[in-house]
Amino acid sequence: MKRDLRYFAWLRERIGTGHESIETEAATVADLIEELRQRDEAYAFAFSDTAAIRAALDQDLVELDTPLGDAREVAFFPPMTGG
């Protein structure tokens, strides 16, 4: 299935882009992280510590074990530091 991926903050910097569209069969957010990690060193580095990764499906924050379902936009980013 086609998904739009978004990366923010140091995840974006490590991966080298803030946006890409991919075809994936991953079932959950965690599966997708594992798939991305296999791609190359930049992704492996970006996703090396999953405790430091937050994810959103169609702009709603979710746990990493959440099924991707029919989410069109999957976003990855570090813990938020607003305020």
Partner: protein
Amino acid sequence: METVRVQSDLFDMGAELNAFAAAMAKKNAGAVVSFSGLTRDIATGDLDAMEIEHYPGMTEKALAKIRDEAIERFKLSDAMILHRHGRMEPGEPIMMVVTAARHRADAFQGAEFLMDYLKSRAPFWKKEITAQGAKWVAARDEDEDALSRW
């Protein structure tokens, strides 16, 4: 008055507080609490600037949800959230929340709740620019822990 605003422009804290309070007086809300966050030199003592990245779309959605929840939980007469993104100089306001209620305890709690959720649940990321380079601000465990009290 827009009650959730995400903008790069500098804003005037005092003017925001006055506009909010003027509307509250008409709603018979006697207690108004504001929190303002100012850019300061958190880590190194030589901050040149702060840059804030955010997730357009999700940010507005997350803030609106947090605001709705605060209003309901603390019986607020109203609540406002204003947060900047982009580059800001030391001493400039980064963000502001304002709450109003009939009783001061609710106004205070509503503002603290908004801040706790905004810190860890709204998609903003701070980067400090110093003479030594740029560095992403690390999330503090205390900020995550603060959520457990609600």
